[in-house]
């Protein structure tokens, strides 16, 4: 039971697929123009993710290792086709709003990433919980971003007017550049919080956990005498940052 809850927490916060692992950015950026679209996309992905994790986990001893990726893709594509037909039949307005991005759930990195990283090594129950956790994390991230973009770009949240009439909404936020901006800011805020916690842990002397990038930025924001004297550390730090990203991107694979 504890393990199941840990999976949920892991997907929602610790390894949030969009904001921490940077997986599934394409649909996240594209459909977050409205909070309701974010929820719709998030829940469709959640459904596919839970089912694909379940099926792949059940078949994990049957599928030969060499052809596992094509096998996964076929499983996911079939599930997505079913989901697409269901949405088309029962939620036509959502189908209109999400359009091309529903079939594109097939190539959402989160789904293959979780299949490869988790479902093919764990029991069906844990895999389903992992799918729910990751799917909820995706839904929450999309909904928050969608609500922010809708609020700034249109003055509404979930279609209800929030900004007073006199305030002119900034249309750029519901256009493509706004997606990049909003996600950049959300991730920056999460980083800032992460650096704060890291600093506190460093002060308490918890030592190294192997995440050098976060560690480095934590040190960077506490200026040391050496940094005041010379420019050199900054360059080193700056080079550490892209490395951090490589870790994040590959993170899904390693786990």
């Amino acid at each position: 039971m504890k393990q199941c809850l840990e999976r949920l927490w892991n997907g929602l916060i610790k390894e949030n697929p969009v904001l921490v692992l940077m997986l599934g950015m394409c649909p996240a950026l594209a459909v977050s123009t409205q909070a309701s679209n974010g929820i719709g996309m998030g829940l469709s992905t959640l459904a596919v993710l839970v089912l694909s994790n379940l099926v792949i986990s059940l078949l994990r001893k049957v599928i030969p290792d060499q052809v596992r990726l094509p096998a996964y893709i076929v499983i996911v594509a079939s599930l997505v086709t079913v989901t697409e037909l269901l949405i088309k039949a029962y939620l036509p307005s959502l189908y209109e709003a999400l359009g091309l991005y529903i079939p594109l759930i097939v190539v959402n990195c989160i789904i293959l990433g979780r299949a490869e990283a988790y479902a093919n090594k764990h029991t069906p129950l844990l895999s389903v919980m992992d799918g729910i956790g990751m799917g909820l994390g995706f839904t929450v991230a999309l909904t928050i971003a969608g609500a922010l973009r809708e609020l700034l770009g249109n003055g509404t949240v979930f279609g209800a007017q929030v900004l007073p009439e006199g305030v002119e909404p900034m249309g750029i936020f519901i256009q493509p550049p706004g997606a990049f901006l909003v996600f950049a800011l959300i991730i920056a805020v999460m980083n800032a919080i992460g650096i704060k916690t890291r600093q506190r842990e460093l002060v308490e002397g918890n030592g190294c956990d192997g995440n050098c990038a976060v560690c480095a930025s934590a040190c960077e924001s506490r200026p040391t005498p050496a940094e005041k004297l010379t420019e050199a550390p900054k360059t080193v730090e700056a080079k550490a940052a892209p490395a951090a990203e490589a870790e994040t991107v590959k993170g899904g694979e390693n786990r």
């Binding site: 940077m22 950026l29 594509a77 493509p176 706004g178 991730i187 990203e245 490589a246 994040t248």
Partner: protein, 194 residues
């Protein structure tokens, strides 16, 4: 069909409806590989190859197999299999001919399969009811747009390495802010007309 509309398909795919900056397809590799100019250029070339061929094959399959048999709903599954096979071929080819490029692309080469741009273009083509030539051109234009975007971003990022960026913005956020500015610039192409 005039040659004008064919040019419009290419330019529209490459600049006006830029696949990365406007439609958000292929973001994973766009953010992941754009660290080095060389790797992004070679990924761009691989993507041009894969997308052009994939849209041609997908168009033929759809027109002559899926549509006559009424298997329209199978298109997602069929297309993704075609793409996966193509990527496998490109991977084997690159491994043999230029191992250096193969290594620098690393995990992102097999991930072209899950590059939404490839499947996205194939599906959009079918949705728009393009014929064979239009499909190939639109695939090519889209892929050129992808290459332009990723090479430009790689250029920006190589300059960013030297700059002192506030700690929370390091890594992904600053790259996405750059992408936002590029996207604003590309919105300017919306004014192009023929």
């Amino acid at each position: 069909m005039s040659s004008n509309s064919l040019i419009l398909i290419i330019v529209g795919g490459a600049l006006i409806n830029n696949v990365v900056l406007n439609q958000f397809l292929g973001i994973c590799s766009f953010l992941g590989v754009s660290k080095q100019m060389k790797a992004s250029a070679s990924l761009g070339a691989a993507v041009i190859f894969v997308i052009t061929i994939a849209s041609a094959v997908a168009s033929l399959l759809y027109d002559y197999v899926l549509a006559p048999l009424g298997l329209d709903f199978m298109k997602t599954i069929i297309f993704i299999l075609v793409i996966a096979a193509l990527v496998q071929i490109v991977e084997m080819f690159l491994k043999k001919t230029s191992p250096a490029v193969y290594r620098s692309l690393g995990i992102y080469l097999p991930l072209i399969t899950t590059n939404c741009a490839v499947l996205g273009v194939a599906l959009t083509n079918v949705q728009n009811g393009y014929n064979f030539i239009e499909c190939v051109l639109s695939g090519f234009g889209t892929a050129v747009g992808y290459t332009i975007a990723i090479v430009l971003l790689a250029g920006i990022r190589s300059r960013m390495n030297e700059k002192d960026i506030p700690a929370p913005l390091r890594g992904a956020p600053i790259v996405m802010i750059s992408a936002a500015l590029m996207s604003i610039a590309f919105m300017g192409f919306g004014g192009l007309s023929f």
